[in-house]
């Protein structure tokens, strides 16, 4: 189950962060997302370390922590997407697929003429779309 997704801007400032959990650990998830930015930085600055090639947007598993796994994605405009999940066995293909759809939703949201680039994403449509994508995570492997 995905417990949190986030969009993080150039200055590592949060543009959108949403947790999907009943338990009261939302604040903890904020901390986890924030910490994961260190890993993103490290991957981006030392690209040869990570398995994927340089032009790959999907950053893979950033780090496992307590009961969570954190995945990252870096768009070509250097905006970061972070995904936190509680699933033990996550297939990379599922995560890639998720990020691809999430990216599309993000592009639509920031293409809104009323959106100010670099500001928080407040669009309700975007939020709804994200929650649909989150719900369908892992259900359809082919996507």
């Amino acid at each position: 189950m995905i417990v949190c997704v986030a969009v993080v801007g150039h200055q590592n400032n949060p543009l959108y962060i949403q947790s999907f959990t009943e338990a009261d650990d939302a604040l903890k998830l904020h901390h986890i997302v924030h910490c994961s930015l260190d890993v993103v930085d490290e991957r981006v600055n030392n690209p040869k370390k990570a398995g994927p090639t340089l032009n790959e947007t999907f950053l893979g598993l950033l780090y496992p922590t307590e009961n969570y796994k954190v995945y990252g994605y870096l768009t070509n405009t250097k905006v970061k997407f972070i995904l936190v999940t509680t699933d033990l066995d996550v297939r990379d293909a599922d995560v890639r697929n998720f990020f691809r759809r999430f990216h599309a939703a993000y592009v639509d949201a920031v293409s809104n003429p009323f959106h100010v680039p670099g500001k928080k994403i407040t669009s309700r449509t975007f939020a709804e779309r994200v929650s649909t994508i989150v719900k369908s995570f892992g259900l359809s492997s082919a996507g």
Partner: protein, 606 residues
């Protein structure tokens, strides 16, 4: 790692024994100890002492049901009390002396042989000559060799007074000892291995014990690959035992299994890391973690599980740290495989220290809960005093006085064990330990210039200090953390930290800080549709959840405080905060700071 016994932490060192001629023991033992690999010596001055080498008890019949998995003192015994080789030292005078002396030599030799036979200890003869001109008749030497039933290369002459000869004979001696010791450990290992192969055991405990022994014997021979293989076998067999074993009461059974697993895991990780196989070690740790993480056990003693988990992380962090010299650079490693990717973080001790702290926190809260639940909390100490670790690893027994001596009686029921565990748990100050772990992690991250992880550790440390009442330290760390969150615009996180800071300054009675933090909080753009849910009060720190109504409350508090209403934000120690005419307050606020707007509002409307 310090809490493990010395014999477990260091690789085993071959042990040999010297019997007779005590005057040259120091000479030989110093030489052996300086060898590579070193050999330890158990020196027995006289043949009358040799009974210590004898097996302590008659061998139990092979198919018997053991009462535990591993014996606590087995490893220590083989490192300090059971030599691989016994060397009988005779002076050349006695060997070539009159028949009475010769007879004495022969009987000493026979006695020694009889004693060491029970343990299959190898025999070596050393004849000490006072000068190189001493002549021993060929016949006597042959007779001696025949009596000892050893190969002629295992009779060694030593002339302590002749430096050049001595060096050579000591070298020969060292070689002979090493050779015989290897044979001994190989034979012993093979003997036990046959039992495993023939499956001549009727319990899974013995299977694990045998694997462990074979692995230790392999370690004595420095055959790391075989040692690793058998430790792993033991580990996997042990894991299968969970759920099938019924020997002990439920709680104690799991405790025993976890303790043994911990030891095996420790051995495996150490071997992997010292062999430079960092990736394998990290992967192994991950599996270890995954297979035991969910075995929390009975609800009354969940804290034991978290304590155990915390120790796993701590020990692995320490292992990783000590072997980091062998890990040249993380960047040169190819991380993981496609299906089991490893992240660069998992190669850093800081990551494990941080999680160790996390699990220790979990332990603390579970222990507090368990203590509050147990009605007999106050009587605990009395009955738990006489409980001590038993002869088996991971088991406990009650020490009973019986006449002059003591007897150990296994704890028969889990209630007794729970009482003991709770009493033990109460003795420790977890928050110091948590801070220490976090500090290690914090420092390590800051060396790596990993800012955010560092901040997170600092933040958790600050909370611990805050809870412990150490406001100065708390404030220091909170301030560091706040500046990062401020810079990167993480409003919810900043809100939380500021809430703590505000509380710190209130308790400290520092008006200026209190107002500054309050103003900053009041100015934070919270709840502006960023999808922040209402967090529950408990985890939000003193400021409560970041939302508009909390902001409003804080607003009003400052209004009243600045307006001079007394006694508003006072704390218990009478340090009431107030702003009065005689003590005006100067706040320097940056032109671009959002505080300015709030302050304007404050001064306009108050």
């Amino acid at each position: 790692m310090e809490e493990y016994a010395e014999e477990l932490r260091t690789p085993p060192v071959t042990l040999i024994s010297l019997v007779g001629c005590p005057e040259i023991h120091p000479l030989i033992s110093t030489h052996l100890h300086s060898q590579q690999p070193p050999i330890n010596t158990l020196a027995l001055p006289d043949f009358s002492n040799i009974s210590v080498l004898a097996p302590s008890h008659k061998d139990t019949p092979i198919p018997y049901s053991p009462l535990g998995i591993l014996k606590r003192d087995w490893l220590l015994k083989h490192r300090t009390r059971v030599p691989a080789v016994a060397a009988a030292l005779f002076s050349s005078h006695h060997v070539s002396g009159d028949p009475a002396q010769w007879l004495h030599v022969c009987s000493d030799l026979e006695n020694l042989k009889a004693v060491i036979r029970g343990r299959n200890i190898k025999l070596l003869l050393i004849v000490v000559q006072s000068t190189s001109t001493d002549d021993i008749s060929e016949d006597r030497m042959i007779a001696l060799r025949k009596r000892a039933e050893v190969d002629s290369k295992y009779i060694i002459m030593i002339i302590p007074n002749d430096a050049s000869e001595l060096k050579e004979s000591l070298n020969r001696l060292g070689g002979a000892f090493a050779e015989l010791a290897t044979t001994y450990y190989k034979d012993e290992g093979r003997r036990i291995k046959t039992r495993i192969e023939k499956k001549s055991f009727n319990s899974i405990e013995l299977n694990i014990r045998y694997c462990f022994k074979v692995a230790v014997y392999a370690e004595f021979r420095r055959d790391w690959a075989e040692a690793l293989r058998f430790y792993e076998d033991a580990y996997h067999t042990l894991r299968e035992m969970i759920g099938t074993s019924t020997r002990l009461p439920v709680i104690q059974r799991l405790v025993e299994i976890k303790t043994v697993a911990e030891q095996l895991h420790f051995k495996i990780s150490t071997l992997l890391l010292h062999g430079g196989k960092v990736i394998e070690a990290v992967t192994w740790f991950r599996q270890h973690n995954a297979s035991y993480k969910r075995l929390v056990g009975a609800p009354e003693v969940i804290f034991l599980h978290w304590e155990w988990m915390s120790r796993q992380f701590l020990v692995f962090a320490e292992l990783l740290e000590t072997s980091s010299a062998t890990i040249q650079s993380i960047s040169s490693l190819v991380l993981g495989t496609a299906d089991r990717p490893l992240t660069e973080w998992e190669f850093r001790p800081a990551y494990y220290y941080q999680l160790a702290a996390h699990y220790l926190k979990e332990k603390r809260s579970c222990l507090e809960l368990a203590l509050s639940m147990s009605e007999t909390a106050n009587e605990i100490d009395v009955s738990a005093e006489s409980v001590i670790p038993s002869v088996y690893v991971g088991q406990f027994a009650r020490l009973l006085e019986q006449g002059d001596g003591f007897a150990m009686q296994p704890l028969t029921n889990d209630e007794e064990y729970i009482r003991y565990a709770l009493a033990e748990g109460k003795r420790f100050q977890d928050s110091f330990e948590i801070i220490a772990l976090l500090k290690k992690s914090f420092e390590s991250y800051s060396n790596l210039k990993v800012q955010r992880m560092e901040s997170f550790c600092g933040f958790q440390m600050a909370i611990e200090y805050f809870a412990a009442g150490d406001l100065t330290n708390a404030k220091h760390f909170f301030d560091c953390v706040a500046s990062l969150y401020r810079q990167e615009g993480w409003v919810t996180l900043l809100w939380e930290v500021l809430g703590y800071l505000r509380e710190c300054s209130r308790r400290h009675g520092s008006v200026k800080d209190f107002i500054e933090y309050s103003l900053e909080m009041a100015a934070l753009p919270v709840s502006s549709g960023t999808g922040i849910q209402s967090f529950r009060f408990k985890e939000c720190g003193p400021a409560g959840p970041a939302n508009l109504s909390r902001r409003e409350i804080i607003h009003k508090e400052i209004f009243r405080l600045v307006g001079g209403e007394p006694g508003l934000a006072s704390d218990e120690d009478n340090n009431s905060l107030k702003v009065t005419g005689d003590q005006p307050l100067h706040l320097e606020i940056d032109l671009v700071s959002p505080l300015r707007v709030v302050l304007l509002a404050v001064s306009c409307f108050s």
